[in-house]
């Protein structure tokens, strides 16, 4: 347990949601027969009461770093003015976390009351006790601290997406508040374009299976390093020797070693049972397009842009409550199509829409969810495309904002 507690504290820092000093140091507790924490902290006393009130085995407390701290704080305060819930806009958070409850006090009883029903609770800023300043997120797990890590990561992702989505919408509807404008200006320095030099990738063709595995592991690491995915992990695959090698469900893209399933196209084995939930979409895509490499991430501005729909048009759309599965418009971010589809293989699953889209373009954004890119032979192309699309989406977003602000 010590090991896991430390691992996920470290991961929160690595993924730039927490820091290794100051108020944003993650606090992670794990309970088997004894309770262990990754570090000492004043909050532990109250959090021990939370443990006592719940049938759980792990708890994470985090005051996220900027821009997430301010974003979550802003959304939390707004939520407290209405029903006490932040309603995420992105599809994955909605599927897995539903809504995000907010309370205004760091109080074990109230925390317990929320965590009895939900995977996370957000404590609004300003009202945490004593030294604890700033908004905080608490999340629990019944199996591993990884659950809390995933939840917190999703909450931060959802908060980011929600703020920027709502802000653009408010500008269009001319309802943006002074507080929203201020926050936008305040966090602007934190949302820089991704400008790192392009990484090197193992060149294709790959001579053997071993190299295929290594290339996938490498590609997964780069997607994380360039911050092209948060929360629910994304996925990576490569088609080689009539077999699709694909990351496993719930695997972290920076830890793919041992988490790749080989799935032969002839269906002769069902070992793909643990493969990513997008396996069917990946398989159909390689068969339809002849590409070999597929990357899927959740770059933030691609997701935000995918949900930007003209309010005038939206008002008359039959499907306005079901955009993520039924959007009838042909929409694009540059040359990249934006398509509907939910996670998985249902009748409205993205396996129905994605392969077709990728047969016409080398990238596609799934509404409110994330970006898929393909490479004919190698991951380098897919990766460059992913970066381009995200930077393009970011630029378009800010152009739109600037334009709306001017007018």
């Amino acid at each position: 347990m010590e090991q896991l507690v430390n691992k996920y504290a470290r991961k929160l820092v690595q993924t730039k949601l927490g820091s290794d000093s100051g108020p944003s140091q993650p606090l992670v507790g794990g309970l088997d027969d004894k309770l262990v924490w990754n570090r000492n902290a004043d909050e532990i006393k109250l959090l021990e009461d939370v443990f006592k009130g719940l049938n759980i085995n792990s708890l994470i407390f985090l005051r996220p770093v900027e821009p997430y701290g301010s974003l979550i704080g802003f959304l939390a305060e707004n939520a407290l003015k209405s029903n006490g819930l932040i309603q995420p806009e992105d599809c994955e958070t909605r599927t897995f976390l539903h809504d995000l409850p907010v309370i205004n006090k760091f109080d074990p009883d109230r925390i317990i009351r929320v965590l009895k029903k939900r995977k996370s609770v957000i404590i609004a800023p300003g009202n945490t006790n004593g030294s604890s300043q700033g908004p905080a997120i608490l999340a629990h797990g019944t199996v591993s601290p990884e659950q809390g890590f995933v939840t917190i990561s999703s909450v931060c992702f959802a908060g980011f997406i929600k703020f920027f989505t709502d802000y653009l919408k408010a500008l269009r509807e001319k309802t943006a508040t002074a507080a929203a404008h201020d926050l936008f200006d305040k966090i602007l320095p934190y949302v820089k374009p991704i400008q790192k030099t392009l990484p090197e990738f193992t060149p294709s063709p790959f001579p053997d299976e071993e190299t295929v595995y290594l290339a996938i592991i490498e590609a997964g690491k780069k997607v994380i390093e360039y911050e092209l995915v948060d929360s629910y992990f994304g996925n990576v695959s490569y088609f080689w020797n009539k077999t699709l090698y694909i990351s496993q469900t719930g695997s972290s893209l920076d830890e793919l070693s041992g988490c790749i399933d080989p799935v032969p196209v002839d269906g002769s084995t069902s070992a793909g049972l643990t493969a990513s939930s997008e396996l069917t979409a990946h398989l159909a895509t390689v068969l339809r397009t002849g590409c070999k490499a597929i990357l899927h991430g959740h770059p933030k501005f691609s997701v935000i842009l995918s949900m930007d729909c003209d309010p005038g048009r939206k008002a008359f759309c039959h499907f306005k409550e079901q955009c993520h599965i039924k959007c009838p418009e042909k929409r694009f971010a540059g040359a990249t199509p934006i398509i509907p589809g939910e996670v998985g293989t249902g009748p409205t699953g993205l396996c129905q829409t994605l392969p077709l889209a990728l047969s016409r373009a080398d990238s596609a954004i799934v509404y409110g969810h994330g970006l898929f890119t393909i490479g004919k032979e190698n991951f380098f192309d897919a990766f460059c495309t992913m970066l381009e699309v995200e930077n393009f989406s970011r630029d378009s977003y800010f152009k739109k904002v600037l334009y709306l602000k001017k007018n």
Binding site: L31, N57, G250, C259, L273, T274, A275, V343
Partner: protein, 588 residues
């Protein structure tokens, strides 16, 4: 009243009478349904032998039964197990639960014994006892042909139960087995050949909109689950989809758990069956996953084997013929025998005698077991008693007398702990650690480590207990959670609850089972695994090492579990803990 019908049917077979109990909402909300109510009634006669006339057989639905709450179509049957002497229970699919609920009953509790074979017909509030002397001796299929249940649900036993097979099962609606624990024999003891149920009522729902929302949430989550709805998932290939995974992870019990790798496995997987039998989806009433598969060959419909049957009738007993698996499965279903127990007992025999099976010898042994002929009589006792009788108790791969299913515990240490601690003996479903150790849900855990597993197992047992009470299917929980089901519970019953409240109900129900077992003298000595797992390694590869389970680490994890569960170091329940859960203690 919402959710529940509020009525429990008590049947006394000795008097051929019935009465209605209408527990108040508090009682219903406390015991929930299914396993919860079964445990309540079993506790009242906990120390009676399984075959005592006053021993109960409980068949229960749950508050979610008969609603659109996903996978709520399962029933729970519970009595004392003739095979193990423990709490004996089994979840079962088909239409039974839905029909029973529509007939106006949350559940049935059967006591007493009949002198001659009978059937019980329940049509709404009309209860009839039918002479079944003419059906005694018939196999399940023949019973179906005679009764022709139509839209009714029918539960029946076969000759195995009648002939005293300790692991006799109950079959519901032809294809669905309440397999484990020997519940078929409990019915046979009371001379019940079948129960036929139909009803016209509806489950009343407090908040339809909210229930719809909960349903959509659950469906969305299951759609995102590769194990359930993926192209290799249960919906497409049935539970047999797990076969390749166990092969791949080197945890397929082979040669009576002497190895964990079967070289013939690739040709015996779900894909191989799909090719030959073109199976179609089938399942419990109201389920969207439909994990059951019905195949066809030469125009004949065939119930496809579940994963455990596929594995145990090949690797465990050294056979490599899909057709044999199909036939053995069919025979077990018709005669009413649990495939896991029977295959495991046969594997034990193979180890002890050194005699391999041919197709003919295997099928003919199945007949001998079901009809109590020759060697079959001893085999019908189950692996534990059989091995003892043969002077080789170490060859029985069972925990507390229940034969182990098809996951080798050396390849998943949570499973090792789960097997040892389960209240019904060697069972993978009580804690279902395969979910995180293999399927990576809700997140993956290290299958080769005991770290954190004690509490994980405890919480999972609480979870699965309440799932068997609500009722929902455990498979759904590879994707959804109690968070979503709490919403369904609230929507249906109008009673405010939460995931954690439901877990607490599960904890109470499970602790009650520990009490029942303790009343029957089970303690830490029984919470253990066969020695083989601690002394012999599995069949690893260069990349996957499958060492024996480290005994000290196992005992230390078990000790942690006892403390977390609120048991003594000897695994016995404690008064304070029981009372803090609101359980009675007086008869301990």
């Amino acid at each position: 009243m919402y959710g529940w019908t509020g009525n429990i049917l008590h049947i006394d077979l000795t008097k051929k009478s019935s009465r209605v109990e209408s527990p108040g909402l508090n009682v219903l909300n406390r015991y929930v349904g299914g396993k919860g109510f079964g445990g309540k009634f079993l506790r009242q006669c906990a120390t009676l032998p399984w075959d005592h006339p006053d021993m109960v057989i409980c068949i229960f639905t749950g508050p979610l039964t008969g609603t659109i709450s996903p996978t709520s179509g399962r029933a729970h049957i519970l009595s004392k197990s003739p095979l193990t002497g423990l709490v004996g229970d089994s979840s079962v699919g088909g239409k039974l639960a839905t029909r029973l609920k529509r007939a106006g009953w949350d559940g049935i509790v059967i006591k007493g014994e009949s002198r001659t074979p009978l059937g019980i017909t329940i049509k709404d509030d009309s209860i009839e006892f039918k002479d079944a002397r003419g059906l005694w001796g018939l196999d399940i299929n023949a019973v179906h042909e005679k009764i022709r249940p139509g839209t009714s649900s029918i539960l029946a036993i076969g000759p195995a139960a009648e002939n005293g097979v300790r692991f006799a099962s109950i079959t519901v609606d032809r294809h669905f087995a309440a397999g484990r624990s020997g519940l078929g024999l409990c019915l046979a003891r009371k001379k019940i050949k079948y129960i036929l149920v139909d009803g016209t009522g509806r489950t009343k729902i407090k908040d339809h909109e909210k229930l719809k929302q909960a349903r959509e949430d659950i469906l969305r989550l299951t759609a995102a689950s590769p194990a359930l709805m993926g192209q290799f998932g249960f919906t497409c290939l049935g539970t047999g989809a797990v076969y390749d995974l166990m092969d791949n992870r080197r945890m397929m019990p082979t040669d009576n758990f002497r190895r964990t790798f079967f070289e013939h496995a690739p040709g015996l997987n779900a894909a191989a069956y799909a090719k030959t039998y073109a199976p179609k989806k089938h399942g419990c009433l109201g389920c969207h996953i439909l994990c059951k598969k019905i195949g066809k060959k030469n125009g004949k419909k065939i119930t496809m084997p579940e994963f455990e049957t596929m594995s145990h009738f090949t690797a465990l007993i050294g056979c490599m013929d899909t057709d044999l698996v199909i036939k053995a499965n069919e025979r077990c279903n018709h005669f009413g025998m649990d495939t896991i127990s029977v295959a495991s007992t046969l594997a034990c025999r193979r180890e002890i005698t050194g005699i391999d099976y041919t197709k003919e010898s295997l099928l003919s042994l199945l007949n001998d077991i079901a009809f109590g002929r020759g060697e079959g009589k001893d085999l019908a006792l189950g692996a534990k008693l059989y091995a003892e009788k043969m002077g080789k108790p170490e060859a029985a791969m069972a925990v507390k007398g229940l034969e182990l299913p098809a996951y080798d515990p050396r390849g998943a240490l949570g499973m090792a702990l789960g097997y040892a601690l389960s209240t019904r003996g060697g069972c993978h479903l009580r804690a279902y650690p395969i979910s995180h150790e293999i399927f990576r849900k809700p997140v993956a855990t290290n299958r080769f480590s005991f770290s954190g597993k004690a509490r994980i197992i405890k919480i999972a047992e609480d979870l699965n207990t309440v799932v068997d009470s609500l009722i929902a299917c455990k498979f759904t929980f590879f994707a959804a959670g109690l968070e979503e089901y709490a919403m369904a519970y609230e929507a249906v019953t109008g009673i405010e609850t939460s995931a954690q409240d439901l877990l607490l109900k599960g904890e109470r129900i499970y602790y009650n089972e520990r009490i029942i077992n303790a009343l029957n003298n089970f303690d830490a000595r029984d919470d253990d695994l066969p020695d083989r797992f601690f002394t012999k390694p599995g069949s690893g590869t260069n990349n996957i090492n499958i060492p024996p389970v480290n005994r000290d680490a196992f005992l230390s994890a078990r000790k942690k579990y006892y403390s977390i569960r609120g048991l003594t170091t000897n695994g016995l329940p404690e008064k304070d803990k029981a009372e803090s859960l609101g359980l009675i203690w007086n008869n301990l």
